[in-house]
Symmetry: C2
Subunit: 179 residues, 2 copies
């Protein structure tokens, strides 16, 4: 059975949506998470940096993120054909450990607890696929990196790229049937 490692933020959990809400609150704007990548607001992200870093230190920050559309259903289906591991760079924000764990337990209760990985450098992950929104995490990874589209990675040329969980289903379950 092949193994898929799945990132959390902006793949399973809508980090960018919460970021957008806080960003909009601060600057009295009403941008979508996609519009956050606009050239004309890039300087505001720098201004927002210190504040968001402080907010990330709040142990509850990651607890109320919304679940990405269709991720529960598709991961459940994938788990019938693949070993599923969750690989999140929690070491970047150690305050997030408990919130991330509880979030997974609430929204993905079918996952194996022993298959959750809190790491930093993802080159340590041994898997056939890694679904992630950051191409930096594919460096040193020996399997196939599948880029999950997010506002901050639209300029990246990495392939394969998927934009929705339904596209992941198509890519990985079609592949499974062929195998």
């Amino acid at each position: 059975m092949k193994r898929i490692a799945i990132d959390m933020d902006d793949v399973m959990a809508d980090f960018s949506a919460k970021y957008a809400r806080l960003f909009n609150e601060k600057f009295d704007l009403d941008l979508t998470k996609e519009q956050l990548a606009r050239e004309d607001v890039r300087h505001l992200h720098k201004e927002f940096m210190d504040e968001i870093m402080i907010r990330l230190e709040d142990p509850t920050f990651f607890r109320d993120l919304e679940v990405m559309a269709d991720s529960q259903e598709v991961i459940k289906d994938l788990s019938e054909h693949y070993e599923i591991f969750i690989a999140t760079a929690a070491m970047e924000v150690p305050a997030s450990f408990n919130a991330k764990f509880e979030w997974l337990k609430e929204h993905f209760p079918f996952l194996e607890q022993m298959n959750i990985v809190f790491c930093g450098d993802k080159s340590v992950i041994h898997a056939d696929y890694l679904i992630d929104d950051n191409t930096k995490n594919f460096k040193g990874f020996k399997g196939e990196g599948i880029l999950f589209s997010a506002p901050h990675n639209m300029d990246e040329t990495h392939q394969p790229r998927v934009s929705t969980w339904q596209e992941i289903r198509q890519y990985l379950l079609a592949d499974q049937v062929k195998a």
Copy 2:
């Protein structure tokens, strides 16, 4: 540069010593951690199981474990020749996340934070070596498992086996010089 993954409990942190202290307190005994494996006290471990499971849920349990002899010095030396990752099965005891992280920061401040991995099933670890006291963690691991002797694994036949951090130095730094 080759990569070494290192387990925490009973390899870097003296879990068995704290277990022995609590066990002795409960049964009014004065056994060493090695004597805990004695045939005549095995029934007491079963009796102690419920209590220790409750104690492990205390978020501070892992915070005051003693550092295994010579581990700091040898891991520091190894880090000059190898990439060092810490791979602990923290998912077995989620209450331990923060204590384990703080313990590493205190006693091994030279380690890269991004190279700490809290996992469960260690077959997800991609490394050349895994130093661990549980042979179950070598199953599915693609590198070489190095068994660190502990009271509970003395009946195991796995090789290579090391009993001290000085033996690890000899095994892995001699190997490095040859490479």
